[in-house]
Symmetry: none
Amino acid sequence: MVKNGQGLGDIMAGKNISDMIEHYLKKILAEDEKIEISRSQIANLFNVVPSQINYVINTRFTIQNGYLVESKRGGGGYIRIEKVNLLDDVDVLDTLIEMIGNQLSLRDSETIVKTLYNSGLISKREANIILAALIPDEVDSNNDLIDIFRANIMISILNHLRYEK
Amino acid sequence: MVKNGQGLGDIMAGKNISDMIEHYLKKILAEDEKIEISRSQIANLFNVVPSQINYVINTRFTIQNGYLVESKRGGGGYIRIEKVNLLDDVDVLDTLIEMIGNQLSLRDSETIVKTLYNSGLISKREANIILAALIPDEVDSNNDLIDIFRANIMISILNHLRYEK
DNA sequence: ATAATAATGGTCAAAAATGGTCAGGGATTA
DNA sequence: TAATCCCTGACCATTTTTGACCATTATTAT
């Protein structure tokens, strides 16, 4: 009984299925720069459980690799993968992300925003918007939770600055 | 047997019927800015149950999206959808702030950002930064709490934009 | 007029159709 | 042989689709 995506050619001989799925998707992306797939359909095509598609995406189509992924559940659901252009000075972003643990104080977040501005990664206007986002007016301070949220928000923003669309 | 809106062209291939209905209505609205439809007629056109038209309206033609909907039952009943022109500048901001309670869902926040962009109040890049701030990747706290934070962040940003004017 | 009846649209909850997470076991590699 | 990577399946979350039942308005019969 044929199993695990045999019959798709021998180019991938010796590699595992995840590699084959990755290869398959990237081949399409080489031409279209954006694809929309059905998770179950792809899983079916390669004879694997649907969640393996998530595994492939999580390990090989990360933003660090220059891929954006969006998805939608429910009827007519999909997974969309897009190849984006990574900027040159991603190092700054990586460094900053590393410095942020899972908590980020107000003071530190201001420093980071300043750094971003000085690096030319964001404009003054953008810096102010980010600051507004990081310091919501009347959230009761003095709470670890805020610092956790702030860290998450900051990291999310930094990741978005990696690429241009 | 033809099913589910086939025959209306393949532009929408891969999307669900609700999306197609939305697309169909918005296409008309792009020219007329106000339409009056018969629920059962549209339902019939797309081969769906009438209540799906309500679903489409409730999820895609909300006031946050800039649409006003009125209807009348009984003989000669109708559903009227109107594209309302978003006010100007500060008014938009005030309106948006008012619409946000103390909680803000992900979906609604995306709509608001889209509105800001469509109103020309923010650039696409700024829109993306704001979205990144509103939708931190992996916050795993209590959901209500996230919505509360999101509301605060959004309001903070809106207020900031107002002062910049 | 009034009361039935027909013609609409509205609500809501269940079912169906997707995709997501996570932890454990197996396979591969250093 | 320990660490890492791959694969699987049980369970979860979200969005769409459907249908039974309800509400309102217009028309028709009495």
